[in-house]
């Protein structure tokens, strides 16, 4: 089982204690004719762990991808660290942001994907050090130290020189978490990070995520792992058909769901 060091997560979160990390106000998103996000509003405060649940196709992953600007919003407003995502105000008008600025904003946000998306031609260590070196201009030896300490934190110090193809799914996902942490993000997004894993590997990844939450990382987690939501989540958001249908603390939402769609969803998931 991976053991995380107890040192706290270095992040920009600490410097902005009161202001929200994410502020989504009535976001709309369309895929052609399909209305995938319907006026979704959500505020995430520093050190909060938000868990988003809901049936597939409910828009939870799309929302997460909007936060990292992998998808463009069609309406509403979305700020991360106080900066509008994808748009900039210029002379009172909203204009599309430059690739350069979008890339800068993404550095503050880490993302972990369902299918890991590790770079298969790089070793575990190279996966972690690529962005610090080539985006932040960190030198090789500093990046190496950082990479090795992050791999140690996810319990993979001994696999630094392995290629992703030689690692198990659980190990690959832990490398992916280390890769995202290497940019010292203020916010971590988890897009069904354990859904593609064999059952016996889910635990090791969830443990890393729990340690991260305990260290004070701000997180938005899309997951079907209700145990994790109950144990780690500060707030649980239930989405369905592109809208937030219910939200509350895990205790409220799991023991006493008010919305009938939440009730029917939970009854299918929790046996």
């Amino acid at each position: 089982m991976p053991q995380l060091s107890s040192e706290s997560v270095e992040s920009n979160a600490a410097s902005a204690v009161s202001s929200p990390i994410v502020e989504a106000i009535e976001i709309d998103k369309w895929f052609g004719q399909l209305h995938v996000l319907r006026k979704v509003s959500l505020t995430v405060l520093p050190r909060q762990v938000i868990v988003i649940i809901g049936p597939s196709g409910s828009g939870k992953s799309t929302f997460l991808r909007c936060v990292n600007h992998l998808e463009k919003i069609d309406g509403g407003s979305l700020t991360v660290n106080g900066q509008a995502i994808g748009y900039r105000h210029r002379r009172g008008r909203l204009i599309a942001d430059s690739e350069r600025h979008i890339a800068q904003q993404r550095r503050n946000v880490g993302m972990v994907f369902q299918r890991f998306n590790l770079f298969p031609h790089m070793t575990a260590l190279e996966n972690v050090t690529a962005a610090p070196m080539h985006v932040n201009g960190m030198n090789r030896s500093q990046a190496r130290d950082l990479g090795e300490s992050l791999l140690a934190r996810v319990g993979l110090a001994d696999r630094a020189n392995s290629y992703p193809g030689h690692l198990s799914g659980g190990q690959q996902q832990r490398v992916a978490i280390a890769r995202a942490l290497a940019m010292k993000p203020a916010l971590m997004l988890f897009d069904e990070a354990t859904s593609a894993l064999d059952p016996e590997m889910i635990g090791e990844v969830l443990d890393v995520m729990k340690e991260l939450a305990l260290d004070g990382m701000t997180m938005i987690v899309v997951t079907h792992e209700m145990g994790f939501a109950r144990e780690v989540g500060d707030r649980v958001i239930m989405m369905d058909h592109g809208a937030i249908v219910e939200e509350g603390t895990p205790a409220e939402l799991f023991t006493n769901p008010r919305n009938e769609r939440t009730q029917s969803f939970l009854s299918k998931i929790i046996h």
Partner: protein, 259 residues
């Protein structure tokens, strides 16, 4: 007239195969270096062409499409004549021999290198385009998510993965290139084929001399296949011993044998 006179002159055949004179070897060398230069420049030009094709900028992708359409849609033989002879007779441009200190690049070889490169770029552009497109979309997203901008993403993440996909069709292209240098004889480049023709017009040992030429071409393409095999093994190192099986190497494809 005797039928025996038409028989295979084995002495002449072996003589030309194993003891070629310096002039013949020079022609073989011309074939090799023109093919290598044509392939190298064609590959270098093909990559920006592929990136232009993928651009969201309409004018850029349209220009790249038109380029491919023109060069892939016309025969190399015709292109060679237009570039070398046609431009000169139209008074647009006439190639002249150029001295590079130690060696001299004749006019017709300049035209050959330029035409081979420009034509090859169109084919390599398509190959790069397909290879870049074959890289999983998740790779772009992962690179974006750690703050990489498009060009570093291309250089560090996409192209190294695309390279593995490019090598087998690149190998095919180079084999085609080696063989199609024989077309350069039309503009007066003394390469392997033209040299054989010249010898034939003196000795009239048509079967023997072109058989020798065929064996030389075969040796060149075989040597290349071995080099390509080494490149493929090198590029696949990150997958060695993993669950994903290696694709068949060019050597296996060539021989039909498994190692």
């Amino acid at each position: 007239m005797s039928l025996l006179a038409a028989q295979f002159d084995s002495h002449y055949f072996w003589q030309h195969l194993f003891h070629p004179d310096g002039v013949f070897l020079r022609a073989v060398w011309t074939t090799v270096y023109l093919a290598v230069l044509g392939q190298a420049f064609g590959t270098l030009l093909g990559l920006p062409l592929a990136i232009a094709r993928r651009s969201t900028h309409r004018l850029l992708s349209g220009a790249a499409w038109t380029y491919s359409w023109l060069w892939r849609g016309t025969p190399l033989l015709v292109q060679l004549l237009i570039v070398y002879t046609g431009l000169a007779t139209a008074g647009i441009y006439r190639f002249h021999d150029v001295d590079f200190g130690l060696f001299r690049l004749p006019a017709e070889q300049q035209a050959a290198i330029i035409t081979l490169s420009l034509a090859e770029a169109a084919y390599m552009g398509e190959i790069f385009r397909a290879a870049i497109g074959s890289v999983d979309r998740g790779q772009w997203e992962a690179a974006k998510s750690v703050g990489m901008r498009p060009w570093p993403t291309m250089r560090l993440v996409i192209l190294p993965q695309a390279a593995r996909v490019v090598v087998p069709p690149l190998g095919n292209e180079f084999i085609t290139m080696l063989k199609q240098t024989s077309l350069l004889s039309i503009i007066g480049v003394t390469e392997l084929f033209r040299m054989s023709s010249n010898i034939n017009s003196v000795d009239f040992k048509t079967f023997e001399i072109f058989f020798v030429a065929a064996i030389w071409y075969l040796m060149l393409t075989t040597v290349w296949s071995l080099i390509q095999h080494r490149i493929e093994v090198h590029l696949a190192r990150s997958e060695r011993a993993s669950a994903v099986p290696l694709e068949k190497s060019s050597l296996e494809r060539l021989t039909g044998l498994a190692r």
